[in-house]
Symmetry: C2
Subunit: 343 residues, 2 copies
């Protein structure tokens, strides 16, 4: 293993000072064209790469973004929610386009994550991604903000929360999909998904659902709701309960596609069929939702756009520009699981 070349080695070979090498490599206009070309050629030949630790230390910035992916610690740890995996993909892409490196990290909500990356100068800013009990880390967000850490959060748009957030219109999504079910002729409903303040996204979807039902006079206090987290298992068990209580409604609204997968599975084992006996809808439009039988009606969040906006907003914040919350529209994806017009 050869010793790694430094800028001094280049300087020696090129017969210039190390300062000039540094300038040439950074394409400084201060340096003679010819000198620059020579230095760059030698650097290429020696396979020289600027030491990032040294240059970052000197410039006090890292050209790196950290992505903190929160996981619901109760979810099946063998699988990441496909929706977030898809976000991860689009964020990676957006970072590459912006010539930033991306540091990815999984976090538990109770980890001491709040300052780690930017404080240690490994990253210039942080993207927070994940469902999960948002309230429980709210004070950490405040602390981040207090310290002047740059961060953007994917999630529920909420004026009371610190920092800037990019999210999808969960309320509208919940409203639209529910109203569609009403139009399809369904009259009794159940909601599967935690509707408490611990899960703001789910709560907003639920609120949209409730308001749509209310608008059509279909909402009652005893409309069943199950506090499921976003896993197949949660959905599966919720349906089992419904079946035991012999309280199967016309339509089941799931707070996520993953939950809906479990719901469909449970119904497949039951005497009831979808959508004839019961309609099922999900949320997220993960890839699988187009392939279930019947294909799942759901709400799409544009992950590609979301990744771009998250990254661009963060970069703006790092550049000390003004940034704003952004609420992306939710798009209804109608497939077969909600019944057809002539039902």
């Amino acid at each position: 293993m050869k010793e790694k070349a430094t800028s001094f080695d280049i300087a020696h070979i090129a017969g210039v000072s190390q300062s000039t090498v540094s300038r040439a490599l950074n394409n400084s206009p201060l340096v003679n064209q010819e000198t620059r070309d020579r230095v760059q050629r030698i650097a290429r030949e020696l396979n020289y790469k600027v030491d990032k630790n040294a240059s970052n230390l000197r410039t006090q910035k890292s050209n790196t973004i950290a992505l903190l992916l929160f996981e619901d610690p109760t979810s099946d740890d063998s699988m990441i929610n496909p929706f977030f995996l898809s976000m991860l993909g689009s964020i990676t892409r957006a970072c590459a386009n912006a010539r930033y490196d991306l540091l990815v990290s999984f976090q538990n909500l109770d980890d001491d994550w709040h300052a780690e990356y930017e404080d240690s100068n490994k990253a210039d800013g942080i993207i927070l991604l994940g469902y999960g009990d948002y309230l429980s880390y709210r004070n950490k967000l405040s602390q981040l903000e207090e310290q002047g850490t740059h961060f953007v959060r994917w999630g529920a748009h909420d004026k009371e929360h610190p920092g800037v957030s990019i999210g999808c219109d969960n309320y509208q999504g919940g409203f639209d999909i529910t109203e569609h079910l009403v139009k399809m002729g369904h009259r009794s409903f159940a909601f599967i998904g935690d509707a408490g303040s611990h899960a703001p996204e789910f709560m907003a979807r639920h609120q949209g659902y409730v308001d749509a039902l209310s608008k059509h006079g279909l909402w009652t206090e005893d409309t069943p709701q199950f506090d499921a987290i976003s896993t197949e298992d949660s959905g599966f068990h919720a349906v089992q309960e419904l079946l035991e209580q012999e309280a199967l409604p016309d339509a089941i609204v799931c707070a996520s596609d993953l939950i809906a997968m479990g719901v469909l599975k449970a119904l497949r084992l039951s005497p009831y069929s979808v959508p004839e006996d019961v309609a099922v809808v999900g949320y997220d439009n993960i890839q699988v939702s187009g392939f279930t039988t019947p294909a799942l009606t759901t709400v799409q969040q544009n992950t590609r756009l979301a990744g771009e906006i998250l990254v661009n907003t963060l970069l703006k914040a790092i550049a000390k520009q003004e940034v704003h919350d952004y609420l992306m529209p939710a798009e209804l994806i109608i497939r077969q699981s909600c019944g057809s017009d002539n039902s």
Copy 2:
């Protein structure tokens, strides 16, 4: 935004030298228990974090691994192959367990990636992940090895290639799934997937397929094969060709699940049904494959284990321990798309 505290600030407050602060923070046994506690308490109060750039520069290691994800540049850029996304998830997890940071980057095969990360001291080692034209970057791998860069590669096990590789037994997978089709009574076949040396994984799967057919006397030189890359579109178009030529075989073996998705889609639009008229099998066991109609028979690669082995092998290499190639067994996942025993 407050100025970030340095070890000198801590030293000043604690009334000790900066060297002692550094030792205390690194839990050096050289420092008095009481002093250490005091220093650590102050550091916590000041929300102090060691500057990674400085410490990495000094120690010449980064506790960071870089993951280079190669993409087939011809594939649909709106979507990463779900199989690799799943690998990404398990690698992230494995890194977190090893207390390493993970730098993720997408690369085109023609980028000048080969040295970037480790040479610039941003990472201690590199994981290479992706299908793609392996031959085209073979000399880059040689170069990596020559420079003493630590790397492991996911992919085809091959003694002739530089560096250590972790992969799944593609040959055995291709063999097993084909033999299963033969057992199901299928007699004529087609293979969809590039079987050339540019795609070593696919080539190995194809070789297993050919050998299984040969073993049962079913292989002929004119058994159709299509040079598809791993996308739905490729599979879709290959089937269209088969239909135009009116050469639909008993069974279609796809080099990946993504290809199989396209095959199923094309057949759905045809008068033929799966598995009655034609069997279809895939490879990878991506999540969707369990939800298609009919559910897809495929070959599973254990991504979770793969991620762990990749990371652990790389860490060993970084620690100058001896490392070996590893060939993971392929597991047949039998579902409905291949027909049933009584066919």
